[in-house]
């Protein structure tokens, strides 16, 4: 199949799936009985007030009309007002999402570097101490709940050692950099604002490390096993027999080929990081989208929950699509 046909097919499929996702989100918010109005006004609000607020929010209309309004709004990114913050939900998402994206990307960078190094070392020194360490680290790493590791890191690096700050994206008195992407690290780099960059870096280290731990473990594991497979191949024996240095064999011949499954895992990891971000953001008071949704859920703020969840699903689908397309470009057999 032609690569463009493949991409077009996947895009159409994604639109269909996203429509279904919107249905699920709407179903969760409207068909399942929870009462946002009384959550907002308190239990004893007089009937006429409840009626008025219902009318104001459009909750008195038939479900099918509400659904139509939701879908047509969602297509243009209009999810209505958040009941909690009183801002348009899309504006809130624009404020909160860059924080989540920044955290996730930083976590991926940390875990990719650490994971590949650990995986390669452990494959090359198979059954030595470093291998045992890295394998135990991998399996323990995937077993620890991210919110707990987050708390332990806080305990050690903030309360005991006092090296790193505990909460938020910047110190209280630091003025955020000019808004370009909304990601403070990138924005401060672009504007050459080194003070802010340093502050933002100090704040992101702990949450990104806590979040990346899980991904580090799975990346290390995958790299190790694919590296072991590659090292068994005959061309590696040939390269060694030619008298090439060990470093050259490993870095130039083996590593490149063994990275293909690792790329796959990194792509797949993005989803689990978005998931972990919800918990990490809560532990570190990181003002991201996950925390926004969690608070929306606890306040039964329908619009922000529907908007935020749909947005996360959208980003997640796009990420999966990009990974799939990358494979299809790399490996024609995947284009089915």
């Amino acid at each position: 199949m032609n690569i463009w046909t493949y991409i077009l097919k996947r895009l159409l499929l994604m639109i269909l799936v996203l429509f279904g996702v919107a249905c699920i989100v709407f179903f969760i918010a409207h068909v399942i009985p929870a009462d946002p109005i009384s959550a907002m006004l308190g239990g004893n609000a007089p009937d006429e007030v409840i009626k008025r607020v219902e009318a104001q929010l459009g909750y008195d209309q038939p479900l099918i009309i509400q659904f139509y309004n939701f879908i047509t709004g969602a297509v243009v990114g209009d999810f209505g007002l958040s009941l909690r913050t009183n801002n348009p939900v899309m504006q809130d998402i624009n404020n909160y999402f860059p924080a989540t994206l920044e955290l996730t990307i930083f976590a991926i960078i940390i875990s990719t570097v650490v994971g590949i190094v650990l995986g390669v070392l452990s494959a090359v020194h198979r059954n030595k101490i470093i291998d045992h360490f890295s394998r135990i680290f991998s399996i323990v790493g995937v077993s620890m709940p991210v919110f707990w590791t987050g708390l332990l890191l806080l305990l050690l690096f903030y309360y005991r050692l006092g090296w790193l700050p505990a909460a938020g994206r910047l110190d209280f008195f630091t003025i955020p950099p000019d808004h370009i992407t909304g990601m403070y690290l990138l924005d401060s780099l672009l504007t050459g604002n080194w003070e802010v960059f340093k502050d933002a870096l100090r704040h992101i280290l702990l949450p990104a490390f806590a979040l990346g731990l899980l991904a580090t473990a799975s990346i290390a594991r995958t790299t190790r096993s694919s590296m072991l497979d590659v090292l068994k191949q005959e061309y590696i024996t040939t390269a060694k027999a030619k008298g090439l240095k060990k470093n050259v064999v490993i870095n130039r011949h083996a590593l490149r080929n063994s990275l293909i499954p690792t790329v796959t895992i990194i792509g797949l990891t993005f989803g689990s990081l978005l998931e972990g971000a919800v918990l990490t953001e809560t532990v570190f008071s990181w003002p991201g989208l996950g925390r926004y949704i969690t608070q929306g859920l606890l306040f039964l703020d329908y619009n922000s929950v529907m908007g935020g969840t749909l947005y996360i699903a959208f980003v997640y689908s796009i990420a999966n699509l990009v990974v799939d397309i990358l494979y299809a470009v790399l490996d024609p057999r995947m284009r089915t």
Binding site: V17, I24, V146, V278
Partner: protein, 298 residues
């Protein structure tokens, strides 16, 4: 008379010999896999604790004793006490009952949904397959925790609803696996011969296709048990799962957050319990997967 019984018995032993050989081989693989043994021991201990929790501690999990609040670990309270003076070790022991309840119920519900969807899709193929798999895709389009959060919050945050919520987001991998198996099985000649004998679709699906999909799904089930515990604890931690004073481990970690600076033990030990049990399930799951791996088997 006795002679003939003996004869049928040896006949039976003879018949079952390959199975015994197979089990012996499985035991051999299990004994060789040290990590799987560690996993088995952890899960064994976990089950033991869940069953005998009341006999292992002199305290009650939800009786408050404010004069004993926030005591550090000591011989009387090995893991210390929390802000209401409840013994943390005791609460962790009782919490294992909640964890096991969550794992078992979620596993049963989600595998039932997953296998039914998967086998139906794989067996009928065509438009049915297309529709069911697109529905599966829709559920896969969310990060699982986010969808579970939404279900749990809207159903009303409590233990039962959290279990429903996790089950509703956890069935997709089983659906995919059992669909793939059903696709493979339905082309086999024996299905053809059963059909030619006049068996209905329903009968073929449930008595002949479904049993063949069980074993790969079982591997996946054990591999995912750890994830279920982590998800449940995460929901509890966020306040969208079990509610205080339940000794659910995620709720306990969340309880201790406000006391982290001076009373580190309140959050640390429940989290450690989660990590150890999840580690046990992961080791066991990995071990079972390795044992089922045909490259290792023969």
């Amino acid at each position: 008379m006795s002679k003939s019984t003996a004869k049928t018995k040896t006949g039976w032993v003879q018949l079952m010999r390959p199975y015994f050989e197979d089990m012996k081989h499985t035991m051999y693989l299990w004994r060789r896999n040290k990590l799987a043994i560690v996993g088995t021991i952890i899960i064994g201990a976990f089950l033991f604790i869940a069953i005998f929790a009341p006999l292992l501690t002199p305290y009650q999990p939800d009786v408050q004793n404010l004069s004993n609040k926030l005591l550090p670990p000591s011989s009387e309270h090995p893991f210390g006490t929390d802000q209401f003076g409840r013994d943390i070790l005791c609460r962790i022991l009782y919490g294992s009952r909640i964890a096991i309840q969550i794992v078992l119920i979620v596993t049963v519900i989600s595998s039932l949904i997953g296998i039914s969807v998967g086998v139906t899709a794989g067996y009928f193929g065509g438009i049915v397959d297309e529709i069911l798999m697109r529905i599966t895709d829709m559920f896969l389009a969310f990060p699982r925790l986010v969808l579970a959060m939404a279900f749990a919050a809207m159903l009303g945050p409590n233990l039962a609803n959290m279990i429903i919520a996790i089950s509703l987001v956890n069935w997709t991998p089983y659906a995919r696996i059992s669909r793939a198996e059903a696709l493979r099985v339905k082309g086999q000649p024996y299905i053809e011969s059963i059909r030619s004998m006049g068996a209905s679709n329903f009968r073929i699906m449930f008595s002949h296709v479904l049993p063949m999909t069980i074993s790969p799904v079982l591997v996946q089930l054990t591999l995912r048990m750890g994830t279920i515990i982590i998800t449940a604890a995460g929901l509890g931690f966020l306040g969208l799962g079990a509610q205080p004073p339940s000794p659910e481990w995620g709720v306990m970690v969340s309880d201790g957050r406000s006391y982290l600076i001076d009373q580190w033990w309140v959050s640390t030990f429940p989290g450690l319990a989660i990590a150890i049990v999840v580690l046990g399930f992961n080791l066991l799951g990995d071990g079972i997967r390795d044992m089922m791996d045909p490259r290792l088997r023969r």
